[in-house]
Amino acid sequence: MAKQAALAQRSISRSLLLTLPILLWSLLMFSRTMMQSGKAPKIAALITLAFGVVLFFQMMRTLETHRWRRYFFVALGFLFPIGFIWDLVSLRGTMSIPVERMLSGDTPFCFMVIPMVIVPAALTRSIIFPGSILPTASNPHAIATMVALWLAATLIVGKAWCSYGCFFGGIEEGFSAVAKKPVIKKLDTRWRWMPWAVLAAIVLLSLATFEPVYCTWICPFKAITEYPQVRSLETAAQMGIFVTLFAGLVVVLPLLTKKRTQCSFLCPFGAFQSVFNRVGPIDVRIDTAHCVPCNICEKNCPTLSIDNSAVKAGKPMMSCMKCGACVDTCPRDAAVWHIKGTDVGSHSERARLFHLYAVWAFAVMFGGSIIANTLTKLLAMVA
């Protein structure tokens, strides 16, 4: 790539200096895990800490974002379900959730539910989810905990949640990275509006039926997390939908297209999170004065957030998750990180650093703890 050739790598000493705050932050975040009894948590914390710090160092050294971020994100995506299923199976011997657990408020709350519960909660003060408001011994993933986490994440990283925090997206990104070249090259970009349609439909239907319809009928990730116990034709049909959507949108299509198809064509939470995309101080811009256009950014964008109209407008669409793929691959440095209020292209690396420190601090805190927890279980099993 012309850009890589043109870019001088940052010196090792300067890269180390820039990585130091993340090293200290990671030590702080993993200090509690390191103090746990037994070898497994300590080793798991050390591995996760080293993994995150090395990746951040590489981001500083190579001035590339997407490639190194992806390692972390895919690791999070693949380790989360392992740890989650492990917990479910050791707790109740199965991944399915029996009605008894729903009645006792033991269903772990997932951030995907948030768009569906807001309107009914505002109108009736009732949360249409069989969880608990505050954490309990049998359900640490309480509603207040997860919503607070989402609120904090949204303020800090906005839509970058989808490229640093969403463990479901990590699975999809992993599959999209397997093939060298896409088998399906042309995608109808009108499907991009589908997540908005799904979002509108599930918000209205959840209000009308007083149940989280996306979780009940659509969510592909039920196939690898927790699903209602199959005891009727209806629950069997739901299970069939979960598995089909997971196989199609999370595994097969990402393998064939090298795109995050579930995020681009279905995910209502991603659409919901896009609303907050304009809130953050850092965004990605396309410097139209430098742009050819060669459409390399369009080809490399995992979520179809860049097309000709976006290039002309000088910025990606709202669905941009700030992964940095376009910035890293643009041969003319036309795709840049940007601090709002400044001239486009004037402080790109500074903007990237502001963005990376904030999102990596969040990623270490949230994703890092998930990775370390799963590694602890795997290490304990091996030992």
Binding site: L103, I133, T209, R231, K340, D343, A361
Partner: protein, 158 residues
């Protein structure tokens, strides 16, 4: 103006960093506290709603809940009323209780079940409620289940 916008942009970027740093120590706790104290509750479909009254049977207590009605014409769950027996460990081998559901002082149904089998017979005593034989979980509005230390019974209302 251009400089002011640039200063504001940089201030926003620094503020983002500050938020990231304080998030696990302050922000997260504040948000959690705010949500917890917002007066929200889990939907009655899952909790069974509010307890209307409790009946003390000596070794155990029966809680009679307020009926849960449909709040929308396309809500799938049928109206139901929930009753619980607790503690489950103190229940006799066969439980047979006459229960006043509507609080008018007159027993409306007789509930008979064996806690070990989780099969229940509900006999209507005055025609206000229908007789039901139920085993395990049929639906959210018709079930008998052991939930922690309670036996939960949900009876569909017509």
């Amino acid at each position: 103006m251009k400089k002011l916008r640039s200063i504001l942009g940089h201030t926003g970027a620094i503020l983002g960093l500050v938020l990231a740093v304080v998030s696990p120590f302050l922000l997260f706790g504040w948000f959690q506290h705010a949500i917890a104290s917002a007066g929200l509750r889990i939907d009655p479909e899952y909790t069974g709603g509010e307890i209307a009254r409790t009946i003390d049977r000596g070794a155990y207590r029966i809680a009679v809940y307020q009926p849960v009605w449909r709040r929308s014409p396309i809500q799938r769950i049928a109206p139901f009323v929930q009753l619980t027996w607790a503690p489950a460990a103190s229940l006799p081998e066969t439980v047979s209780d006459a229960v006043d559901l509507d609080g008018d002082g007159v027993a409306d149904i007789r509930v008979t079940f064996r806690p070990a089998a989780l099969a229940v017979d509900v006999a209507s005593l005055n025609g206000k409620y229908r007789s039901v034989h139920s085993q395990g979980v049929t639906s959210f509005s018709q079930l008998i289940a052991r939930v922690n230390e309670r036996i939960v019974l949900r009876l569909p209302l017509d």
